[in-house]
């Protein structure tokens, strides 16, 4: 072949647009729609019902979101690797009941130790999921649907009719979800710190980026030498640990923990991640987005109540919100793809 001039390679765009303006990158954020939705929702509601943004109102909004936020962050790790964990509700239930039991068995245990035990317990349950999935190489949806039942069954067998109430736990522990620092409830601050740590990890470390690569194409990741098994296992363990943390916080905030604590939570958690722009088939999305998704989902319920919207409409509206999030994400994706194509076509 006789061609050697560089200009003969026609299909590539000129790399002229590398420096992007700050505004441009904000506008390109995947999380932008959900942030906008949240801002609009809060503004409109507050305008109609000032109580919504009273000190107590804000505190309630944040408290409501806290547990779902932590769960959504964990779930995001797992979803990004093209897996899913449906058992989080059951893990949360087990750990919450476990927390209740620990306080009853050892009332003088330092609170921090109880957190440690809860997180560890969750991590172990997450590891059960992760090991089954990675070692036996079976789909996460099937395994975690299985453990959703099994963990719940164990919780039922363990707890029976026993429930532990807020009164069974030290007051300092319950106060974590009452006291505030700078207007933020303590447990919400814990959640925010968790989100921040995981976000940095996902964005700026190699193992974090590996998770995206794995979700983007698991087979390629294996061929490329990314330790897929270890990373996916880690994602499940972390998710379990976060569900464990959420379980401890649940015990701090709510009154009773027992056999059914946390049931049915799994779909809410996945919905929060989806609303926050996490692609359900892995490879893209951020934990910050998922956290905001969780905040939006819990806020919308409060907002509708505050606006005295007929309660029968509330669930339908949540459904529409989820669908809207999916559609918007899609439109954004299509537009990005079209832009790429146009950029290339011009360059032909």
């Amino acid at each position: 072949m006789s061609l050697d001039s560089k200009s003969a390679a026609p299909a590539h765009p000129a790399p002229g647009h590398q420096r992007r303006s700050a505004l441009g990158s904000v506008l390109k954020l995947r999380e932008l729609p959900v942030i906008l939705a949240l801002v609009i929702l809060v503004t409109v509601t507050a305008a109609l019902n000032p109580l919504f943004l009273s000190e107590q109102g804000i505190k309630d909004l944040l408290l409501n979101a806290t547990i779902l936020m932590i769960l959504a962050v964990g779930q995001t790790l797992v979803i990004i690797t093209r897996n899913i964990d449906l058992s989080v509700g059951s893990i949360l239930g087990l750990v919450a009941f476990g927390t209740g039991s620990v306080f009853v068995a050892a009332p003088n245990l330092p609170i921090i130790a109880v957190f440690g035990i809860g997180i560890l317990f969750g991590a172990v349950l997450g590891a059960v999921n992760g090991l089954l999935i990675t070692v036996a190489k079976v789909p996460a949806l099937v395994i975690t649907l299985g453990t959703l039942y099994i963990f719940r069954g164990i919780n039922n067998a363990w707890a029976g009719g026993t429930q532990y109430f807020a009164g069974d736990r030290p007051e300092a522990f319950g106060n974590l979800s009452v006291d505030t620092i700078l207007g933020f409830p303590v447990i919400t601050l814990i959640a925010v710190v968790v989100v921040a740590i995981v976000a940095v990890y996902m964005l700026g470390t190699r193992p974090g980026r590996d998770l995206y690569a794995i979700g983007s194409d698991p087979e390629a990741a294996r061929l490329f030498g990314i330790p897929v098994t270890r990373r996916v296992l880690m994602a499940f363990v972390v998710n379990g640990a976060l569900a464990g943390l959420a379980g401890v916080l649940y015990a701090s905030r709510f009154n009773s923990v027992g056999a059914t604590t946390g049931s049915g939570l799994e779909l809410d958690v996945v919905a929060a991640a989806v609303v926050g722009g996490v692609a359900i088939f892995g490879g893209s999305g951020t934990v910050v987005g998922a956290a905001i998704g969780a905040l939006l989902l819990t806020t919308i319920t409060s907002a509708l109540t505050a606006l005295r919207v007929d309660k029968f409409w509330q669930q339908a509206i949540v459904g529409i919100l989820i669908l809207a999030a999916v559609v918007i994400d899609r439109i954004a994706g299509v537009r990005a793809a079209r832009k790429l194509r146009i950029a290339e076509a011009r360059n032909v």
Partner: protein, 364 residues
Amino acid sequence: MTASPGSTRPGTEKRQKPGRRGAADTSTVLAVPKGRTGAARILLGRDAVMIYVLLVVVLYACIVIPRFASPVTVGFLLLDVIPTLLIALPMTLVIISGEIDLSVASIAGLTSALMGVLWQGGMPIALVLVICVLAGLVAGAFNGVLIAYLGLPSLAVTIGTLALFRGLALVVIGDNAVANFPPGLTAFFTSKIGGTGIPTVMVGVVVLIVAFAIVLHFTPFGRGLFALGYSKEAATFVGIDVARSKFLLYLATGTVSALAGIYWTLRYSSARSDNASGLELAVIAAVLLGGVSIFGGKGSIPGVLAGVLLIGTINYALKLDRVSEVVLIIVTGSLLIISVVAPNVAAAIKQARHSRRVRSAPLP
């Protein structure tokens, strides 16, 4: 053309070094290159395992649990599993085509709510039923448009419609419950065929089962579903209309979910917004237990039938034995996990044994 011998047939190769046992094994395995067809294929396949497990469980229950072996069992058991059984049929096709539908139970609930309101509003029951089925069709079409034509991920979409349809059910009927359906009709839905114990409605269910089995296993459309479950792109290249196929499947899930909703309402003679809630996970568990691959492309109706009946049987047997539902939950979860883990473990053991044998063979 004179073909060069395939690397997969080393036994015929003159250059093949003798005494390598792995290779020798291979040639004997490959001495039957013809595939299996018909009955043999079904009886030895993955689906068959579930059928055998079902048979064993039924037998065991008959021996161990007093009164289990009776027509009464058949009746109560079938009445319990019919909603799962119904929805599992289209769900099988949906999952084989590589999608999922989490909104089925909500569609059933919406149908139930609608039925209650319309009947209470004084509409003739026949018309109520027709409208309810149409409502299911519309709900399915809504899913179908979003998933098939707008190309949105089904897991995300149906989590949304799971909430939406259940919400609409609440909007429709609120916190009311309607119970005064025509006694003849509700009685029909719990009636049995003679002394067999088989519920009369099973006749209709069987017709649906046969229809879905034929569509999936013996029609060009069904062949297309398997192909597109594995690879939508490749399916497009052989002229399969991916969007249309998927749309039709969601119509089917919508409609059958409506039927399940109607059954539910009339069997329990109670129309409420929360009817059948949580059924979606039970259906999916049964379908997956029946050997359908969650990634699409693999599965069969006989396998799914076995999966549904297996859970149903264990459920009823445990109840009859007054064993707590806790056990059922744990058993269901474990079965689900075992059903996917076991084949992989078996394959791994086989491969490990094979490798060990090959490795231990003396090298030339």
